[in-house]
Amino acid sequence: MVPEIESEVLEVRGERYLQSNESMFTFYKRTKGEFSPYFLALKERKVILGAKCPKCKLVRVPPFVLFCPECDFEPIELVEMPDTGVMNSTPPVTYFAHSLFEHQVPFGRGRVLLDGADTALPIHVYTTKGVLTPRIFRRGTRVKVIFRENRVGKPTDIFAVPIAEIPREKQNVRGLQESALDWESPVEPELPTPDVEAKKIYHSTLLQLKKMASLVAQSERAQKDLAGWKRRINVKTSGGCFTLLIDDGKLDVQEGEVKGPDFIMVAKHPAIFSDWMSFRDSLTNAIIAERLWISLNREFTTVFKLDRLPRSIKRTGQ
């Protein structure tokens, strides 16, 4: 997207400089060439193929070679692979993505050594247990490859889930699709019984939150952060519960819970929210550190919007 204004003048130390809006892009009809059998097998048969060298028996997944470079370019054979394996190493989890991937966050990009494979398959990793954090997948975590409902012959047609999250009767089903898994009822982390100190912080945090909601009403920038967004969020903390209501640019905070929220947040301590409002920490960092949990991975987008609010309010005041 290039705005209509084609150029502008910037001034640096009294000198004027011209700057113009430009772009660089190319469209493709790109062949998958020798990788076609692999991507077609994902798309049409829900099968993962590997490339086996008949001489050294090395199995490469995905099948990224036509010939084995270790065996004087011996032609490889395509073989069907199991859809289970282990994480080759702890995968990174992306929370801040650029414009092409921002709708997917948070996502993990890992590598799975399928059973019998010698190379690791690059793959997205997800959990059915709420928001994705860096500690869910580790080196050696046993996983199963799951197939998307709508497959187009791309690496995103599949993703891996810890096999421990899959019901036992489904663990051996080949070509298991995402609809066969329960994504909507993760188990909430347990909170300790509220003590006097936590209750005290809860009440002061609630007051701060209500003040923040009123500041959002005065900040055009903060309203923009929440524009076009509607969410009812039950927030449970070790000091008590409250509800965050986002309604197209407005924020409201109420004590207690509402029925049928869009998603649930569980905070180990109510101070997470006062730290967020006073720039000491972000909600994203709290999620990464597993001090804050949300019930639906896709609702990280809401967290990302909330994380912008303190800064937007501060900038309004400047």
Partner: protein
């Protein structure tokens, strides 16, 4: 092979954005500075190797072609090198090789990058578009569509190292290194973060770019240019005598590119290693006759894309054992007064990272330290591509 020396270096100031210059102008500024340092004319230079990493940054598929004439190299050989983050190092290696082979006597290595012209109109900032642009560097069939970025690919290596060596790469240690680099950058007026104050506590509390890499422990995006001039021994002696500065000999060069696909053994990428750095250093040490790098090298200019990667690279290059990278701080090796000076320029984290020329920036700093502090030997390192696939090491020695 002939002996080769560095006779002149020059860089531009490192800036997050150069509104006042295009990459043409930045290239001219660096070349002018380098020939000025050597006190020679550009007419004395026989050939040029260009380091420009990414076509999209420069909005051109042959970004070096306009530079040939405007840097005074018309009608002479010129070749562009692009090798990800290691572009600058591979460019200098090419210039070195042209001289060592006897093909040319004086060769210019010029690195330049104009990254933050890229702009994300949605967020009204450059950074997301710069990340997106670099994102076109990942494997395009199996990985890019999974959201590959430079940061998450280096995070993969760091996380795998932490799998293998739990307890190493403590956050407190990498934060302390950030503080040291920020202190050192105050001696480099060309640096992007010159004048900034970052403490270990600030680094510790900075947000994650991608776990476990934090903002203040991550290289900056920079626009700038750097130039290094290589010459044969006889030319170098005469030129350096005339210029009145010591000859900096290139006594070792090594490079290695690993496979990009991860696997069970060294035929593929071993994710918890940066074998490229290990093999590059090993080859450079052999060539330079270095048996104990900790005792024989005093200055290290290391390509610190991320501080935890700096620590792993230091281990891979033999300054600390693998699994004990925290010794860099815990045993005071790179602390002020320690036996090694690591990134006196501030490194790429605090000095600047204009990708095609960052390693020239490192080389400029290494030469400056050898000359000004009268030190004997320096190491210049470059890393690049997905999962730290590429590694290049150059050993420099101060002559008379």
């Amino acid at each position: 092979m002939r002996e080769v020396a560095i006779i002149g270096t020059g860089i531009t100031p490192c800036k997050g954005r150069w509104i006042e210059r295009t990459y043409y102008g930045l290239a001219q500024m660096a070349v002018k500075a380098a020939v000025g340092d050597a006190k020679i004319s550009i007419k004395d230079v026989d050939a040029v190797a260009y380091g420009i990493y990414n076509d999209i940054f420069e909005l051109s598929a042959i970004p070096e072609h306009p530079l040939q004439g405007i840097i005074g190299m018309a009608n002479k050989p010129g070749m562009r090198i692009t090798s990800g983050g290691a572009t600058g190092s591979y460019t200098m290696m090419t210039a070195y090789t042209w001289v060592a082979s006897g093909l040319y006597d004086i060769v210019l290595a010029l690195g330049v990058e104009k990254a933050t012209d890229c702009f994300d109109f949605q967020s009204r900032t450059s950074t997301p578009e710069v990340i997106k642009t670099i994102g076109w560097s990942g494997d395009t069939f199996f990985e890019r569509e999974l959201g590959w970025t430079a940061s998450d690919s280096y995070a993969e290596v760091v996380l795998a190292y932490m799998d293998e060596h739990p307890g190493d790469l403590k956050d407190e240690v990498s934060a302390k290194i950030a503080e040291i680099l920020c202190e050192q950058v105050q001696n480099n007026p060309y640096a992007q973060r010159y004048g900034e104050k970052v403490t270990a506590e600030m680094a510790m509390n900075s947000r994650y770019i991608v776990y476990p890499l934090k903002l203040l422990e991550t290289c900056v995006y920079t626009e700038g240019a750097g130039a290094v001039i290589f010459a044969s021994a006889d030319k170098a002696r005469a030129i350096c005598k005339n210029a009145g500065h010591p000859i900096i000999w290139v006594t070792g060069v090594g490079a290695a590119n690993e496979a990009s696909v991860a696997g069970r053994d060294e035929r593929h990428k071993i994710m918890h290693r940066i074998l490229s750095d290990h093999l590059a250093a090993k080859a450079a040490y052999k060539m330079a006759g270095i048996r104990d790098p900790l005792k024989q090298i005093q200055v290290i200019e290391l390509h610190d894309a991320f501080i935890k990667q700096l620590q792993i690279t230091m281990a891979e290059m033999g300054f600390v054992p693998l699994g004990h990278a925290d010794d860099l701080i815990d045993k005071g090796l790179m602390a002020p007064g320690g036996p090694i000076l690591v990134n006196p320029s501030g490194g790429l984290t605090y000095g600047g990272h204009f990708v095609g020329g960052s390693n020239m920036f490192s080389c400029w700093s290494a030469c400056r330290e050898l000359t000004n502090r009268n030190m004997e030997r320096a190491l210049v390192h470059g890393t690049g591509s997905t999962v730290a696939q590429y590694g290049v090491v150059m050993i420099l020695e101060r002559g008379s």
